[in-house]
Amino acid sequence: MAAKSKAAAAKPGKAGASGAKGGQGAGKAAAASAKNAFSAFSPEEELSAYHDMLLIRRFEERAGQLYGMGLIGGFCHLYIGQEAVVVGMQMAAGEGDSVLTSYRDHGHMLACGMDAKGVMAELTGRQSGYSKGKGGSMHMFSREKNFYGGHGIVAAQVPLGTGLAFANKYRGTDRVCLTYFGEGAVNQGQVYESFNMASLWSLPVVYIIENNRYAMGTAVARAAAKAEEIYNRGSVYGIPGEQVDGMDVRAVHAAGVRAIAHCRAGKGPYILEMMTYRYRGHSMSDPAKYRSKDEVQRMRAEHDPIEQARQRIVEAGHASEDELKAIDKKIRAIVTEAAEFAQSSPEPAPSELWTDVVR
């Protein structure tokens, strides 16, 4: 099955060994661009996406701050820079569609509608966190919101998500599972075991590869053969794949709509490679010396998903600067409230040590 390609807008300038691979796919991109073109968002969509992305940004900034204060422990992987991916996808998803992802999961939880207070309280390890403080940053779940984790083992969520899709099909529903993973995970064997079964059994799963260019400190081209064509990794299994500008929430949304419709129609799995970028280190303890400040700066200045949305909103007159400031203020209040809640909420009772081992 022919893989479709879309222009990779998220190209770091001089990204060391990884380089910018968008150019190689330019021919294909041009051919495919008409088909993959996306229409403008409605004013409501623009503002909704702006709000949701900004909430994640501010939440993550505050999480980073709390980490620095010693209130959040262990590993803490921030989603800053990648917000358009999960927000665009979740706008395309429907009621009852399930989501799971890796340990870089705070943004996904917020985009699934989970409460910022409960997420932040889990980060601080408190009783009112989503996992009663027993999961932490990497292990949070909400059955109510169909968010199935939060998985700390690279690529483990890929067969798990394929299994959720299996359950959907077994039950005869048309629900789809959105399985997110990084470009570092695509080299794991279980990803291909999953691709094989998903295609063999036509399972309704969208594989969303968030290509933020670095698997911890390893640039994608140092770890992945044909790094410029990761969207194509399912082609031998007959899984269509697209490369998407993951810094433009409209492009993400449009691709998400296509992929989810494909799955809902019973046509099997679909791969979306989201070209994105994380501004922060892999985790809070990573100084990110493997890339230049210049590269990060250029991405922030030229491709920031939130700034792009803000400019479009202002230029189109969907909202005034004042109205945007009001949104920002509202979000800051949500995040401040979450941070306060997360600090004032009690630690789990010692008796919680022994609960939830078996049921």
């Binding site: 059955r143 199935y148 067969p159 394929t162 899709a165 359950a167 999953s194």
Partner: protein
């Protein structure tokens, strides 16, 4: 010179089988590779090919004969020019006449292991069943009961199970619920755990647990830990089952017992049954249990016959040991195939006047410490028998619990009889040496008795 055709073994553990069909008759010419007969055991059917050219001079075992021992001559093939007419002899019909020396007579009945179980109400009718049949019945009953239960694994559907545990299930439940997987343990185990997150109740069959090492991340990190990591919001109702431990002559990579490995993991339940009654009752309980259950079977035991209570919905509770043989002089704790050594040893010891009490642990996690301790307080002596390796073994754990809870009642230090601390060798003699033996168990009991 005539060549003897011997009853072949279909698997490393096959001891006897049925000569189902002859495709040739005396006087027929055969060439190398011609199919001359079909043989079957309770788990497989296979064609027997001629290995040489010639004429079938004698058929020694008649079609339809049951329980023909491996390596029994079943026919003779005469080479070119040999006088085949010189040896006319009618094949002996089944059931075999006692006069026919070449025929191993069908045994009157399959050996039936006794079962003594306080859980079985007085007067309950019993039926003979192999462990294999018991496991199949358990799955079929639970699949009839609950549409969310399904079976997946390698060769479970069309092939009817590599060890024929799933025989007939595809016919009854269809391909939607009896699912052949590709050979990708890591992937299909993760997929099954994901399906369990989604509310289904998968039974994952590992052809053997040796291959589950490829999948152990999902068994432990994804299945066992999620309930805790989610603060009780979601877990996985799933059974991982298959053969664990040594079969026969399959070497180091196919002979490991995983009881100790999985029983270390909080969030898992680990069951390792011995009898068919327990295999059935515990598997049904495992399928209904809301937690991930590792269900360790044994290839050698699949064909063993036991008495199984003829009760609708026979359930054996997880976490409850069984006193398999009462006694006063020493406690032998074992489970799974370890019970075969324990029972034979107890019989020998009884002849010497030592009455050993045997506890069949049945579940390794949660461990029924109470039953062990009650017995040790009575006998003052304990021997633990398992096929797995000694270091960090389940035996070690049992011995430690005895010391923690019954130290003052002990009249001798606990003794472990385990598999030897080596990878399983292939050579028949070494393989035997690597496993526990009845003699070692007898000796261990004598040791704790100071005799």
């Amino acid at each position: 010179m005539a060549t003897e055709i011997l009853m072949p073994a279909l698997s490393p553990t096959m001891e006897q089988g049925k000569l189902a069909k002859w495709h040739v008759k005396e006087g027929d010419s055969v060439a190398s590779g011609d199919v001359i007969a079909e043989i079957e055991t309770d788990k497989a059917t296979m064609e027997v090919e001629a290995v040489d050219e010639g004429v079938v001079s004698r058929i020694l075992v008649a079609e339809g004969t049951e329980n023909v021992k491996v390596n029994t001559p079943i026919a003779e093939i005469a080479g070119e020019g040999e006088d085949t007419a010189a040896v006319p002899q009618a094949p002996v019909a089944a059931p075999a006449a006692p006069a026919a020396p070449a025929i191993v007579r069908a045994e009157a009945a399959r050996p039936v292991e006794p079962v003594s179980d306080a859980e079985v109400p007085e007067g309950t009718q019993m039926e003979e069943m192999t462990v294999r049949e018991a496991l199949r019945a358990a799955m079929a009953e639970e699949m009839r009961r609950d549409g969310d239960v399904f079976l997946m694994g390698e060769e479970v559907a069309q092939y009817q199970g590599a060890y024929k545990i799933s025989q007939g299930l595809l016919d009854e439940f269809g391909a939607q619920r009896v699912i052949d997987t590709p050979i990708t343990e890591h992937g299909f185990t993760g997929l099954a755990v994901g399906a369990a997150f989604g509310g289904l109740k998968p039974i994952v069959e590992f052809m053997t647990f040796n291959f589950a090492m490829q999948a152990i991340d999902h068994i432990i990190n994804s299945a066992a830990k999620t309930l805790y990591m989610s603060g009780g919001q979601m877990g996985a109702q799933i059974v991982f089952r298959g053969a664990s431990g040594a079969a026969a002559r399959v070497g180091a990579q196919h002979s490991q017992d995983y009881g100790a490995w999985y029983s270390q993991i909080p969030g898992l339940k680990v069951v390792q049954p011995y009898s068919a009654a327990d295999a059935k009752g515990l598997l049904k309980s495992a399928i209904r249990d809301p937690n991930p259950v590792v269900f360790l079977e044994n290839e050698i035991l699949y064909g063993r016959t036991f008495q199984v209570p003829k009760i609708d919905d026979w359930l054996v509770p997880i976490g409850k040991a069984r006193i398999a043989r009462p006694g006063r002089d020493a406690t032998i704790v074992s489970w799974g195939i370890g019970m075969t050594y324990a029972e034979k040893a107890a019989e020998q010891l009884a002849a010497e006047g030592i009455e050993a009490e045997i506890i069949d642990l049945r579940t390794l996690r949660p461990m029924d410490t109470e039953t062990i301790i009650a017995s040790v307080k009575k006998t003052g002596r304990v021997v633990v028998v398992e096929e797995g390796w000694p270091q960090c073994s389940v035996s070690t754990e049992v011995a430690m619990r005895v010391m923690e809870h019954a130290f003052d009642w002990l009249d001798a230090p606990p003794v472990r009889v385990t598999g030897k601390d080596v990878p399983m060798p292939y050579a028949a003699n070494l393989e035997k040496l690597a496993q526990p033996s009845v003699e070692e168990v007898v000796e261990a009991v004598r040791r704790v008795r100071y005799v």
